[in-house]
Symmetry: C2
Subunit: 236 residues, 2 copies
Amino acid sequence: MQRYFAKEKINDEFILQDDDLYHIKTVMRMKNGGQVEVVYENNVYLCNLNIDSSIHIIVDSILEKRENNEPEVILVLPFLKEQKIDLILQKGTELGINKFIFIETERTIVKVDEKKEQSKLDRWSRICKEASEQSMRTDIPTVEILRDKEALGQMDGLKLLCSTKERDKTIKNFLKNNTKCDKIILMIGPEGGLSSKEEMYFENKGFAKITLGTQIMRVETVPIFLASIIRYEYME
Amino acid sequence: MQRYFAKEKINDEFILQDDDLYHIKTVMRMKNGGQVEVVYENNVYLCNLNIDSSIHIIVDSILEKRENNEPEVILVLPFLKEQKIDLILQKGTELGINKFIFIETERTIVKVDEKKEQSKLDRWSRICKEASEQSMRTDIPTVEILRDKEALGQMDGLKLLCSTKERDKTIKNFLKNNTKCDKIILMIGPEGGLSSKEEMYFENKGFAKITLGTQIMRVETVPIFLASIIRYEYME
């Protein structure tokens, strides 16, 4: 069944976003009484459609309440080419990442003008929302741009940095020794990796350097790999 | 350093493929004496270029000999839309898959005409070759189309089938209990999954049904997830 995220709940009715209303009416061609799933504040509701001039959705029954034992996963990543970012956001959402934080790094080639930040964030959030609906998630990952990297020092949780220099400490090591953690913050570098100076800076902010093994992956493959193995490691 | 797969070795010279020669000459603009890595029969050679009218590559020294403790990973998958197949081949190669076997399934929407098989295989093999070079693999995954599914019964190894019906037996279970296996054969279904009849057919051919958990992934994400967790599980 099709799933949509509501933007508001008024009494027993959900208010959906305009593009979702368009999807229901014009793409799905649904009629009064048709059923959809609506997600609101992490709960999933089975709903009957009540389509008037505007669309209201009447709650029918609560279908599911979210239970989540996986840790919160935050990905810190540099700006990359749009196509790579799109893939990371889509696949990362499917695989359970909860938050994407974009930063500028020394070897970042792609720059995001501060004036264009909001339109980028809107676009990226839309990709996450669509991927969340498709993969039946009950939450939508958030996306932000962080200009002041100092803030990463104040975050708590298991903080790991994918290093191109580290040879011995594998990600497996860290995950095996932290099977009860409730927040993981993963940092990846751009093509060419983080500089030694940057790695040192982030180490001082509490990040542990790790290696993903000897094989080389494209930059956009790394977060997909990371999200996969975290989901696997915390699978029942 | 740029890496190429040789098609032949004659005494101390390697013969490369025409498109690689084009890449060296025209894209990389390399000159006599320039160095590249050449992979031949799973060995990596550091080589000096000797560019004449045609290009010969003279062996300089053996740089690396492949050591591999990971199991051989074979992915059996349905025909899908080109874009999805391209992503699976590229990411699957980066993440260590050794062979891709395409089959037709009941719910396969995309058909591959037998007359067009060879041109498809050529294209797919080229994607694997490029991804192997980029990710510094010392082998290139093979790609085949299997019309007679009976043959899957004769293959040995740990045979797993991603089922949409199985609820309890997770992939984690199977990998944890088979930490010393040297061949894993993974079968995935198309959008909508394999039919019950197909699942039963493959169970009779020795495949065990598994679930990847309750979350839903797009069909092209499944093999990337699988290749990631196998790489992780067999990581030192």
